[in-house]
Point group: C2
Chain length 402, copies 2
DNA sequence: ACATTTGTTCGACGAATTGACTAATAGGCC
DNA sequence: GGCCTATTAGTCAATTCGTCGAACAAATGT
């Protein structure tokens, strides 16, 4: 059941701790590490012999300048373990490999195999192999992977559901099938959650523990980072804000199907609003927004309506989960004109509005999020460091407690 | 910095692991534990000698029936460590002690010291002592405590803020002051969050990982349990749904101050609505609702309006965090008539509405939540192996990785 | 030359294992 | 009932693994 002997051997703990520090700090000497961990110098020497034999660390150089003998510094062989990430969209698949430091080594974009289903699974497996080839490393080095999809994944049945944009993926046991093909552990995540994770790793969420990423495009969706973790909800539907009762009557039949907020400010809603107010018919959302610069009053009014609804949505989200920051993305959400108007309305309905910004990573947020998720999994399985810091709460020995 | 040697001594890990299993399983024999942990039989014997000397475990009995020598079973001395919990309200303080198994040993209710501030801190300290006296155990046995307050706590400044109902608590460094008086670790939490935690422990949230507790009374507030943890948000304001843009215009000046939802269905809102529709003036909310049974049409219409707004609020909350269940509490929220109408409206604005119920613990939810929070802290400090949790999910030795 | 820091060798200790050995119990057989 | 046997519980002694501390050799700036 709980097998203490095989899992938590003291040396394993030591090895993992050393690797963790080395990953966080870069090149460090053995003497320095000995001081940091409290382990003795020659335990450190033994540990480094073991790690070097395993190919986990390598000599980095020598210290210089300070008094005393110069020390040999060691660093992690960052490409000893790789992670795979892929952002699967309706038309394209973005995939990449990163090393243990999170450096993106190579990227690849392919059109999504429109036959869908099993073909996409095979395509993902092939892409992971092609990426490893591209940097001349064996594919066996890949130890974890994550796939972002426009839909949801049910961990209980291990199947995908609600994947309208990709043929034949609904009901596929994607994780099991892909793991069988590639041989490393695979996770699946919603694409908007992945984008949020990406912003947390490299973008606007870097220094923030609680924030949301709102994608406004054809539809509207949100990824939540709460206390540094992705919030999934009971059925994996957390962040599905298209159903927020804002902008149109939630008891209306149309809202019941598509969602009130989506009805109001989704692509169809925007076009309908523009045309309904006397604007030219048959324009795309992009064309409508492009007319704002040219002073089209109806376009400006439409933008205002969208911003007003979005501000109310942010107010609602803030009331529920109190984020510190809101990052806007997606083809519509990333427009500066919109951000400006959203801020305007937010100030008029909230005393302490969260800070709003535009996505820093743009269309790459999702891809980077899958890599970040894989890295977390890798670090957890290899070094047991979920998160990025090493919190050790003041645990006193049992004997010393009164 | 990271002192591995002092923290994670092997024997400490073993002791903690054994204590954890003993707490989960009740009385177990040494041989059985040896099989469960993979540790050898006489390591187990040594461990139990140590734990018995420390007063942590005691002989429970002997096994019988099966073939072979009968085994001595040991159990945790549940009252070796106690936890304190207190629910501080504007008029009363409910406090209690529980043992390590979470059995509530004794409770105490006192009127809140109306002089407020420091006097309340002193009162809490005295109550913890009185509770220990009442069960004849030394107060030093209390190793953790939690205080629930109608307000918020800023962990950074270690001070309380937004505590309108209790004089002079705003700005008090409650944790530090109380810890100095009582000598055990103290946590502070919002009362609604505590009620949610209580329902998670002993009430409607027992078997659910994601749910919310909505308190509807004088004001309206919500506690969120997400992936079994209390969600706090960036400023501790997660769940403050009084500001949800529902029921009245969020851009209206009054809503900006009190919150749109609160304006619509807070006590004042309900009375205003009832009187505005031609109902008798000067009634309390309770009196208005009591008239529903007597067929007062205006009261029924008022109830409907409240239920409709609440349903929309639940819709909004579901869109953001996707709870599996909604637990209603508070003087208004706990009324069955309201629940019935809320369910009615929910079915009309959501395809997959979360299951709604009424609080199982009523006014004791908050108190039990503080005890549950203390128990979590106790278990974490005593039995969690810092950094390295023993059941490492799929942690292979570094050497075995390709 | 000297203080200072790095890294190795050697003896000792704490924690856990293994195997042999003793103790207790149920069930079968007379 | 009394006795034997298979089985399980618990102890004792010898050994291994990981670590620490001290002593010592090697390297480097002042």
């Amino acid at each position: 059941m709980i097998d203490l002997s095989s899992l938590a051997s003291t040396r394993q703990i030591t090895l993992r701790t050393v690797m963790r520090i080395l990953l966080d700090r870069g090149a460090v000497s053995r003497a320095e590490l000995s001081r940091m961990t409290g382990l003795s110098k020659q335990t450190m020497s033994e540990v480094f012999r073991e790690l070097e034999d395993g190919g986990w660390v390598q000599l980095a150089g020598r210290t210089q300048g300070s008094v005393g003998r110069s020390a040999a510094t060691y660093e992690v062989c960052a490409d000893r373990a790789l992670v795979f990430g892929a952002d699967v969209g309706g038309t394209k698949i973005h995939a990449a490999l990163a090393d243990m430091h999170g450096i993106v080594l190579t990227e690849l974009i392919e059109p999504t195999d429109l036959r869908g289903g099993e073909h996409v699974v095979g395509q993902l497996a092939r892409m992971s192999g092609a990426l490893a080839d591209a940097i001349g490393l064996p594919a066996e080095r890949i130890l974890a992977g994550t796939v972002g999809i426009p839909g949801a994944y049910d961990p209980r049945s291990r199947q995908l559901f609600m994947v309208p944009n990709i043929e034949g993926l609904e009901g596929t046991p994607l994780v099991d099938r892909l793991e069988a093909l590639v041989g490393f552990d695979v996770q699946v995540g919603n694409d908007v959650n992945m984008a949020a994770k990406g912003e947390q790793w490299l973008g606007e969420g870097k220094d923030v523990d609680n924030f949301v990423f709102i994608a406004v495009g054809t539809g509207i969706g949100m990824g939540i980072i709460s206390e540094r973790r992705v919030l999934r909800g009971a059925r994996g539907a957390a962040g599905e804000i298209s159903t927020l009762p804002i902008g149109s009557d939630p008891f209306d039949g149309r809202s019941l199907r598509a969602g009130a907020l989506e009805t109001a400010i989704g692509s169809a809603g925007i076009r309908g609003r523009y045309e309904g107010s006397g604007g030219e018919t048959g324009l795309t959302v992009r064309e409508i927004f492009d007319r704002i610069g040219r002073g089209d009053a109806i376009a400006i009014a439409t933008l205002d309506e969208v911003a007003r609804a979005l501000a109310q949505a942010i107010l609602a989200v803030s009331a529920v989960i109190d984020p510190e920051r809101v990052v806007l993305g997606g083809s519509i959400g990333a427009r500066p004109e919109l951000l400006e108007r959203v801020r305007h309305f937010l100030d008029r309905c909230m005393p302490n509005a969260p800070h709003c910004t535009i996505s820093e990573l743009g269309s790459k947020a999702g891809l980077y999020g899958t890599l970040a998720t894989s890295l977390d999994a890798l670090r957890e399985s290899l070094f047991q460091t979920p998160g990025y810091d090493i919190p050790m709460p003041g645990a006193k020995p049992l004997e010393q407690i009164p």
